[in-house]
């Protein structure tokens, strides 16, 4: 049955098929999203295309519901989660990660005229983030959630909604991946927002692979190292972030 197949390394199957299926939430700017013409684009999308091409395979992207990403992976519907996927302890229990390729911080964004100046000011304030996100895990692991207004945190389906709510004044702060936060701030107007100096910790992005897929994991790590070494990764980073932030 398919369950047993899950436990085997699927590299042979992938090679035979000639395609790697990459799962992503296609609303997740700037890492992987559909543009107005319906084309998938973004930093992670280009990185994945380049990497998989140099493995001699075709890439196929599959849109998924972000809340169900590990379910999709373990059901075998996708082979990789590659979409600004933060490495966390909780996630490590369910998937294997490649070596990290980007650094990330869980930054705290407030309106520029906000009275919130540091983390301590968040006490009894309404704070929002995305559901099933690594920001949420970071906040929960610091035990900060209980100090917020009503001892709870407001969870949106997308960061876009969270930022709109921040602007409406119904939440006082949004905790988000730095890369993402900078994109939204650029879109919505730099001067309106302020990013606190304190944050909810450093993190790293990695690519999620099924536990049993050790061959695929190895090959991915090799390719990523090559791309970092020969400057192909840096070029893609320059295109999307104006600088090389790949590590």
């Amino acid at each position: 049955s398919s369950r047993d197949k899950d436990k085997e390394d699927s590299w042979d199957m992938i090679e035979e098929r000639g395609t790697i299926i990459v799962g992503l939430d296609d609303t997740f700017v700037p890492m992987g999203f559909k543009d107005g013409s319906g084309e998938l684009t973004g930093f992670d999308v280009e990185l994945a295309e380049e990497a998989i091409k140099s493995m001699g395979l075709d890439v196929q992207f599959q849109s998924i519901d972000w809340n169900l990403k590990e379910t999709e992976l373990n059901a075998g519907n996708i082979d990789l989660i590659w979409n600004g996927y933060t490495i966390t302890e909780a996630r490590r229990e369910k998937v294997n990660f490649t070596t990290p390729y980007l650094d990330n911080q869980q930054v705290i964004v407030v309106m520029s005229d906000s009275s919130v100046k540091n983390k301590a000011d968040l006490k009894d304030k309404a704070v929002a983030t995305q559901n099933s996100s690594s920001a949420l895990e970071a906040i929960e692991s610091e035990g900060a959630k209980e100090t917020f207004k009503n001892g709870d945190i407001v969870l949106f389906d997308t960061y876009n909604d969270a930022f709109m709510d921040l602007e409406a004044g119904r939440v006082d702060a949004v905790v988000a991946d730095e890369i993402l936060a900078r994109y939204y701030i650029a879109q919505r107007g730099e001067e309106k927002y302020y990013i606190l100096d304190e944050d909810f910790g450093d993190e790293e992005y990695g690519i999620g692979v099924r536990k049993e897929d050790t061959t695929l994991l190895e090959k991915l790590n090799t390719v990523l190292d090559e791309m970092k070494a020969d400057g192909r990764a840096a070029a893609i980073s320059d295109k999307w972030f104006g600088e090389n932030i790949v590590k």
């Binding site: 590990e70 379910t71 559901n131 969870l155 969270a162 119904r170």
Partner: protein, 213 residues
């Protein structure tokens, strides 16, 4: 069992949201639906037209978009509603339109003879509507109203878009953290129980109305 205990706190929190959205929407939208139905059937062309447009727009667009519009869109015109209020406004306005159409269908299904009898007896429009038509309409619309209420139980899950956590979101979150479909099955069971309760209450009401055929 201990596993169930582990997921229960978050599920119960979600259940609370589901229940209050259901109860308040039900209590507010049914009377509002009756009012809208009455206006829709009134003589005034303006009222008729307005109500028709209102019903068209509400039934013609998804509740999800309406929620987004009420919560985020109204901010652009300076109206900032809190989450609970926005949810209740969007749900009530939405469901009232559906109830209004159900009531209208009920009113129009009453045979011409009942109107004619009322007319020749000299009953006023008002007495005809409230004394003859509506009581018969209640009996007939009970099944579709019941269906709508059951749909409402399930629609409550849309509140996720405003950052509120209901049973389904709790289940999806837990399913994600535990890499298991079990929480989703539990959510299914919770809905089944909720809907069984609603169905039971509806059947009791139907039996009450069975005194005539």
């Amino acid at each position: 069992m201990s596993y169930i205990m582990e997921i229960m706190p978050l599920m119960m929190q979600g259940l609370r949201t589901t229940i209050w959205v259901f109860v308040f929407t039900g209590l507010l939208s049914i009377p509002l639906g009756m009012i809208i139905c009455t206006l829709r059937l009134s003589k005034s062309k303006i009222l008729q037209g307005t109500m028709q447009l209102y019903i068209l727009i509400v039934r013609g667009t998804p509740l999800l978009l309406q929620l987004i519009f009420v919560f985020f869109g109204l901010v652009y015109v300076g109206i900032v509603l809190d989450r609970g209020t926005a949810v209740l406004i969007a749900f009530t306005l939405n469901y009232a339109a559906y109830f209004a159409e159900i009531f209208r269908g009920g009113v129009m299904s009453i045979s011409e003879g009942q109107y004619e009898a009322s007319k020749v007896l000299g009953l006023s429009k008002r007495d005809t509507y409230f004394g003859v038509i509506l009581p018969q309409v209640f009996k007939r619309v009970l099944p579709p109203v019941g269906n709508e209420l059951i749909t409402l139980v399930k629609d409550t899950s849309l509140v996720y878009v405003l950052g509120l956590g209901d049973v389904i979101r709790a289940a999806k979150t837990l399913s994600n953290t535990q890499a298991s479909l079990m929480p989703i099955v539990v959510a299914g069971v919770i809905y089944l129980v909720l809907i069984a309760i609603v169905t039971y209450l509806l059947r009791r009401t139907e039996i009450k109305y069975n005194y005539y055929r």
